[in-house]
């Protein structure tokens, strides 16, 4: 029934990848939390502009949750481009058109690849050496973030072994000291900054996300700086009414951005459907060579995302998107 612990004094490293990876430093992360994360219930509501200005630095490792078409934090995402952030390193799990937008805009120079939409702008950047890719996979990336969200230096995983990606990553294959079997471990990921779009948040950052997601909660806990945009700013009394509905606790959040229709042209499930026209437009732009034109039409001319919604989309279309979302059950607390 029981196993005696092995008396071996060593664990063998059977194989290891040679890829660079974002530094693993759980104690450093803890010190950052202690110094910079506000455990007081003090308001942290601000504009997307202020949030990006204060909390996103050139060279940061960035994770954004979901993608440009599905509950993406698009208001904050546009602001990254507007403020011309440089050399971002992207956690590329479940990304889609967004990587091409960031790369073509000159914002991103590295990506940890789970998946991105292979687009001319990305290919060009790769060929010209303006973009470096490190190889993982979707779940390996979200598990790396999970490890970061648990305050650990690494996590064992049951996939990724045997792939070529492994050899170009930070993973190691070790001999499990409990079973003797080979097992892959991957370095924890603590991004410098996470941007996340929630359905609701209070002014302190207590946030509710309804429906499915990729790694929203993990990203919020794993990241040094966390910007949450929200469809609705709700009263803290409403948060306290149903604490089981809180996805992200306030102390992990640095900035709250009020951002109705903040996932346009994508959907915010339960609140509004996507704008199919807007979706096709960004898709066509990315798959063609239309990113600069797209950004010149949808991002750069506007002071704010709200201005874009008002001037470029219009209330009628927004109303239609909201009316189009007939499935509401499960998207409230």
């Amino acid at each position: 029934m029981t196993l005696s612990p092995s008396s071996s004094r060593q664990i063998e490293i059977l194989r290891q990848g040679s890829g660079a990876y974002h530094p693993v430093d759980p104690d450093g992360f803890r010190h950052y939390v202690r110094e910079h994360k506000n455990r007081a219930l003090q308001p942290r509501l601000m504009t997307a502009r202020e949030a990006v200005d204060r909390f996103v630095a050139d060279g940061d490792y960035l994770t954004y949750e979901c993608n440009y078409l599905m509950r993406g934090p698009n208001a904050v995402f546009h602001e990254l481009i507007r403020q011309e952030k440089k050399d971002l390193w992207i956690a590329g799990k479940f990304t889609y058109v967004d990587v091409a937008l960031l790369v073509d805009a000159g914002c991103a120079s590295k990506i940890d690849c789970g998946f991105f939409l292979s687009a001319p702008a990305v290919e060009r950047a790769l060929k010209e050496g303006r973009l470096q890719v490190y190889e993982y996979s979707n779940v390996i990336m979200t598990l790396r973030i999970q490890a970061g969200a648990m305050g650990l230096p690494f996590l064992p995983v049951r996939s990724f072994g045997g792939t070529t990606g492994f050899d170009h990553s930070g993973a190691k294959l070790i001999s499990d000291p409990y079973t003797g079997d080979p097992i892959t471990i991957v370095p924890a990921l603590n991004p410098d900054v996470a941007i996340i779009h929630a359905h609701q948040a209070d002014i302190y950052g207590n946030a509710r996300i309804f429906g499915t997601g990729i790694s929203d909660v993990e990203a919020a806990l794993a990241s040094r700086k966390v910007i949450v945009s929200a469809e609705e700013i709700v009263d803290t009394e409403e948060i306290r009414r149903n604490p089981g509905a809180t996805s992200i606790p306030y102390y992990a959040v640095d900035a709250v951005v009020s951002s109705p229709f903040g996932s346009y042209p994508g959907t915010c499930p339960g609140y509004y459907g996507s704008d199919p026209e807007g979706v096709f437009e960004v898709f066509r732009a990315v798959m063609g060579n239309g990113v600069p034109a797209y950004l010149d039409k949808w991002v750069r001319p506007f002071e704010t995302f709200e201005d874009m919604l008002e001037q470029q989309v219009g209330q009628a279309k927004l109303d239609a998107m909201r009316a189009n979302e007939v499935l509401k059950e499960g998207y409230s607390a």
Binding site: F94, G114, S137, G165, P182, P269, E325
Partner: protein, 276 residues
């Protein structure tokens, strides 16, 4: 069941996969294209108690069809009436635990041992073409008990060794290679389905086991850069039925996948099927 009179290559492949779907089994569908449509087709026509899970952790949804364009995950219609909502990590973790019977994937390139490339054609780091990476396929291929690959029957897609293993098959094909790489014991590729053919592994090496009526074994092998084994008896697959196509076209693959060509068109000339 009514034999259909006109359909596309891609429709053929999806119908073949649909017929593999079993009641009481779980299917982890990669992304939201042909793998998802195939599983849903099978569930709706043949195996109502087959259950599927998506990369965003949705367990056993009854989606409101058709999907909105490109909205096959996260969106409310896609996750509708699920038994549980989750995350990418919950899906991955349930797969690590052995809860996923089948993984269904499409792939750019597959080799004799079922390894999948969706990352790079050519010498990695050199010239060649970069693709989007494994996405969820790595974990699906590693952790589901059996995987079903969907791909096109093209020479460049069936190779001796993939240029880059994005998602693991039987690796070098030796017994225990997956386990030595840290992957869960007893898992691996199970079927490859193309618009022309179906393959299994005998063992750990790709083997042609069935063909559609309108192509010969030689035609199939001509579209394999590296020749697979061939079963002693190559079965003939049934063509799509009108019922399958009706459902595919009206509820599932309504607009076709933006990034996924439909392939050639096959028609019934009164006596036989002809490929355009």
């Amino acid at each position: 069941m009514t034999r259909a009179e006109a359909f596309s290559d891609r429709e053929v492949a999806m119908c073949q996969v649909a017929r593999l779907v079993e009641n009481g089994r779980t299917y982890w569908a990669a992304g939201g294209g042909t793998p998802l449509y195939s599983v849903l087709l099978g569930k709706k026509l043949y195996a109502p108690d087959a259950q599927y899970i998506t990369e965003d952790g949705v367990i056993a949804p009854e989606p409101m069809l058709p999907f909105e364009p490109m909205m096959t995950m996260v969106a409310s219609r896609a996750v509708y009436r699920a038994l549980a909502w989750g995350t990418m990590n919950s899906a991955g973790i349930h797969a690590q635990l052995g809860y996923m019977d089948y993984g269904v994937l499409n792939t750019l390139q597959v080799d004799q041992h079922g390894n999948i490339n969706s990352t790079f054609l050519g010498e990695y780091g050199g010239s060649g073409r970069r693709f989007g990476g494994p996405g969820g396929a790595d974990t699906i291929a590693a952790c589901c008990w059996r995987t079903i690959l969907i791909t096109d029957q093209e020479r460049r897609k069936f190779v001796r060794e993939v240029d880059f293993i994005s998602s693991p098959g039987f690796l070098d094909g030796t017994p225990g290679a997956r386990e030595r790489a840290g992957l869960p014991e007893g898992t691996g590729p199970w079927r490859v389905v193309t618009p022309w053919a179906m393959y299994d592994y005998a063992p750990r090496r790709l083997r042609l086991i069935a063909r559609v009526p309108w192509v010969t074994v030689d035609e199939i092998l001509a579209e394999c850069e590296w020749k697979p084994l061939v079963a002693d008896e190559v079965q003939v697959l049934e063509p799509p039925t009108e019922e399958e196509l009706q459902l595919l076209r009206t509820e599932l693959d309504v607009r076709g996948q933006t990034t996924d060509a439909a392939g050639s068109w096959i028609t019934w000339d009164g006596e036989k099927y002809i490929r355009a």
